[in-house]
Symmetry: C2
Subunit: 117 residues, 2 copies
DNA sequence: GTGCTGTATGACGATAGACGCATTCTGCAT
DNA sequence: ATGCAGAATGCGTCTATCGTCATACAGCAC
């Protein structure tokens, strides 16, 4: 049932699937969260380290991590009194690389059109 | 200069690049815009057709198309009194496919864990 | 040039969500 | 069991943006 709703697309996602896909993108659409993911992809970190690395408050970082964890993009593991968070999987890396490549191509095209003019 | 700011990442995007990448994801994080992109990828459409297809108001659709156009994801072309909008490139398709696949995998994993239990 | 249609934009209200302070909760260390 | 540190959550404020109605603008058709 759920499977069918999500999977109905040979090519065109169902309205329900579109909603879920867009919510996924929305997660990545916030710089704070993307920044956290970048930090965590380099290795596990506790909240204090992330506070230091980003400058955001403990509560804010905790909340963002909660969102990322519920979406399956990060996991946490106890290390003494601390929780170590780590990035899970390669999907976000892949997505960012595609977008970044595209953004660069676009800038390069613009540079070229300026040079010609 | 701009090139370097965006391109600095062998692997870790610069803060500026992260901002731009997140803004790109933010564009896709709104169901309306994603829906429009899906419609337009099947062929060029005018605003009236998009109104009919989605149920949103003319002004809203026009505004969303404006955003997508400025980001280079759609183009427009005059056809008599109408403007035909069309989706540009495959990037959004690729991104959606990656995300959709992942969402499915996640659901399937959850189904499996329920079956075992 | 004029009138009309299709589209873009102004103005407004409602809502979601970022963000930080304060507090509570959780689990470790003793 | 107790105390403490680290993390999660309550609450309030602020901002951005969705979405619509109304209006302005752009370009076609005559």
């Amino acid at each position: 049932m759920q499977r069918r709703e999500v999977a109905v697309a040979q090519n065109t996602p169902s309205p329900q699937a579109l909603e879920e896909i867009s919510q996924f993108f929305r997660l990545l659409g916030e710089p704070t969260r993307l920044q956290l993911l970048c930090k965590l992809r380099q290795g596990p970190l506790d909240v204090a380290s992330l506070i230091q690395a980003t400058g955001f408050s403990q509560s804010h970082i905790s909340r963002q991590l909660g969102q990322l964890q519920r979406a399956g993009l990060v996991t946490s593991e106890r290390d003494g009194v601390r929780l170590l968070y780590r990035a899970e999987g390669q999907l976000v890396d892949d997505l960012c690389l595609l977008v970044q490549t595209r953004l660069r191509q676009r800038l390069e095209a613009q540079l070229e059109s300026l040079a010609v003019a």
